[in-house]
């Protein structure tokens, strides 16, 4: 059976003078397996959307200002050159679009691009590490999406833009091929919604309601850092100076001028936190895992299990009574560590906010066989208390056959989990104070840092044992026997 033409054929109406190679269509696909996908025709507009918007706005304003009815703005030097630039950029974007095509061949995907200098990027299916779909704001407005293919090297390859459904289809197809499925066997049913990227046969494991995102944002340290000073100032004003209050009543603009910016800051902060993670879903998709989230820009991001270098489970102070946690992950490859919460692109948040049960579920899904409860936590000795007066009861470390876990942090309680197979090197350190107390610190080095993973302030002989035993475990842990014996393959 060939690939159904509906999946990977060029769009008949979109060629715009560009001829699609004849073997990309129809029954011949059965023999050549070669199919060609063009970017969506709206791509040039989306890529130059800021300019288009600016041009439209300028022209529209000029038109409205003309009381004599609709007329093009007067042809001044400025408007003329502006129009030339906009048109020129649009033409460039159009030419670029015409020159770009995505070709699926026997065992590779090729991205052909370039107007004057032709480039052809080849991506072998078996090198694909993960595939993400993002819908940046402008593209989302017109229903387009962008595919980012991570091959482990810097940057990743981008296919932009495809319609939402095609992007999902192409992604599923490429992932199936990357898993070694023959093209004829690739399942074809795909359905995606506006809020989700949920295909057939996929199962939502964790979903975070927006109300909880809001709660988490309001109870975060950053939010309190904005709010508390404001409340203190207000309280002082109202308590010490009733006259000042009346003065404010006479002159309410003063109050507005002082408070409105802060309120605005609070609002933007909360909205960004909530919108970036809007409709978060952790999804099991066949052999892989993925996360979808975002309101203005939708991201569908695959979770490359075997490329996770470390996990960080954090609990800010005010999440403690609610027993809520957040998980961040450090992934090798182009999913750099975006600590920026507002970034809705590829980012490192594995779970924005969730209960203990949800944390356990995600951990079990990612690393089957891992149970944090069974790890014996070794606390710091009592003489370390005055070095860590608040966090003393929390700080500690533990290790089982597959991971080493350390706990630290006093305002935000943090647990760092690093699989032994991901430990690059280890260091034992001791400064003058620790030496006086007979303590030492063991630091675990990984390729990417969410935070330093260290067993701090532990007894020196324990530290020495840990250094050598963890070094032994790191040495023997290999790709093949990662946690749960998971297969290494693209996710």
């Amino acid at each position: 059976m060939s690939i159904p033409p509906s999946r990977f054929s060029g769009r008949p109406g979109q060629s715009g003078g560009h001829t699609v190679a004849p073997d990309g269509l129809g029954p011949q696909t059965a023999t050549t397996e070669k199919v060609i996908e063009k970017p969506h025709p709206l791509t040039p507009l989306v890529r130059a959307w800021v300019l288009v918007l600016a041009a439209l706005w300028t022209i529209g304003r000029e038109m409205l200002n003309n009381n004599e009815g609709f007329r093009l703005p007067p042809l001044t030097w400025v408007t003329a050159s502006g129009a030339v630039i906009v048109v020129g950029l649009l033409v460039m974007a159009y030419l670029d679009w015409r020159a770009t095509s995505f070709v699926v061949d026997h065992d590779e995907l090729r991205i052909e691009s370039g107007v004057f200098t032709k480039t052809s990027q080849r991506i072998r299916f078996d090198r694909i590490q993960s595939i993400d779909i993002t819908e940046p704001f402008a593209a989302r407005l017109v229903g387009l999406a962008e595919i980012t293919i991570d091959v482990g090297a810097e940057g990743g390859h981008r296919l932009r833009y495809l319609s939402r459904a095609r992007a999902a289809a192409v992604r599923d197809y490429l992932l199936a091929r990357a898993h070694g499925v023959r093209p004829a066997e690739v399942a074809t049913q795909v359905s995606t919604g506006i809020l989700d990227d949920l295909g057939a046969g996929e199962e939502v494991l964790v979903r975070v309601p927006s109300s909880r995102l809001l709660l988490g944002a309001v109870l975060s340290h950053e939010f309190l850092l904005i709010t508390v000073p404001l409340l203190i100032v207000l309280a002082m004003m109202f308590a010490n100076d009733p006259l000042g209050l009346s003065g404010l009543r006479d002159n309410p603009w003063l109050l507005l001028g002082a408070i409105l910016p802060v309120l605005g800051g609070m609002w933007t902060f909360v909205v960004h936190r909530v919108i970036g993670q809007w409709h978060y879903a952790f999804i099991r998709s066949g052999p892989g895992l993925k996360i979808t989230r975002g309101l203005t820009s939708l991201t569908s991001q695959s979770v490359p299990r075997h490329r996770i270098q470390s996990l960080r489970i954090a609990q800010p102070l005010w999440w403690r009574p609610l027993k809520l946690f957040r998980i961040d992950m450090a992934v090798l490859g182009n999913n750099g560590l975006a600590t920026d919460e507002d970034q809705s692109g590829a980012n490192s948040i594995l779970l924005p906010i969730g209960s203990r049960a949800e944390v356990d579920l995600i951990l079990r899904t990612i690393w089957p066989g891992l149970d944090l409860e069974t790890i014996d936590i070794q606390p710091s000795p009592a003489r370390a208390r005055w070095l860590q007066p608040i966090s003393h009861g929390w700080v500690g470390w533990g290790a089982d056959d597959s991971v080493i876990m350390t706990r630290f942090g006093w305002l935000t309680r943090v647990q760092m989990i690093v699989p032994h197979a991901r430990v690059q090197s280890l260091a034992l350190g001791q400064g003058p104070v620790l030496r006086r107390l007979g303590l030492a610190t063991v630091t675990v080095h990984t390729t990417q840092m969410l935070a330093t993973c260290a067993a701090t302030n532990i007894a020196w002989d324990v530290a020495r044992d840990l250094l050598f035993s963890e070094g032994r475990r790191a040495r023997t842990a290999r790709m093949s026997d990662l946690i749960g014996g998971q297969a290494s393959g693209p996710q």
């Binding site: 090798l332 197979a421 090197s425 003058p432 630091t443 080095h445 390729t447 020196w460 040495r475």
Partner: protein
């Protein structure tokens, strides 16, 4: 507790005491530039006594560093084992690093103008982590080459850790 930073079995291989000379030259050069500029500025702007004070302070710092650098160089040590390399250094803040050979991605041998003049070189084990910082400075050039060859022979780039 003295044996906290002792090697597991083998004795530490020390780096060349000549490396202290390299560090002393570097220290003196930067100090002379810094003190020179500060003293001149002070002389021109205020009083010669201020600049004299700066020179004396600089000289005292240099004398202290002169002694300390030699001691610091003596704290460096490494041990090549079958499966991993141990590395230690530090006077106040002591450190002992373990790098499994399986995590090595490259071995770098470096030698600057001063080190080369003294016949020394540094060997760095590059892992996928920027934190590792496994650099052995001040090895005699021959020893550095031997170490590089040995480490390369053990096998680099297994990508075990990735």
């Amino acid at each position: 507790m003295d044996d906290l930073f002792a090697p597991p079995a083998e004795p530490w291989q020390r780096i060349s005491p000549g490396y202290a000379t390299v560090l002393r030259v570097r220290m003196l050069v930067s100090l002379v530039i810094l003190v020179g500029i500060t003293a001149t500025m002070l002389w021109l702007l205020t009083d010669w006594r201020w600049s004299a004070g700066v020179v004396v302070a600089g000289a005292a710092y240099a004398a202290w560093q002169w002694v300390r650098l030699a001691r610091w160089v003596r704290t460096w040590g490494f041990a090549e084992r079958d499966e991993d390399l141990y590395l230690t250094h530090g006077l106040w803040v002591k450190e002992l690093t373990v790098i499994p050979y399986g995590r090595m991605q490259a071995v770098k041998v470096e030698s600057g103008p001063i080190t080369r003049a003294l016949g020394l070189a540094s060997v760095e084990l590059v892992t996928a982590s920027v934190q590792s910082g496994a650099k052995i400075p001040g090895l005699p050039a021959q020893e550095a080459e031997r170490l590089r060859d040995r480490l390369t022979a053990i096998g680099i780039g297994d990508e075990d850790g990735l």
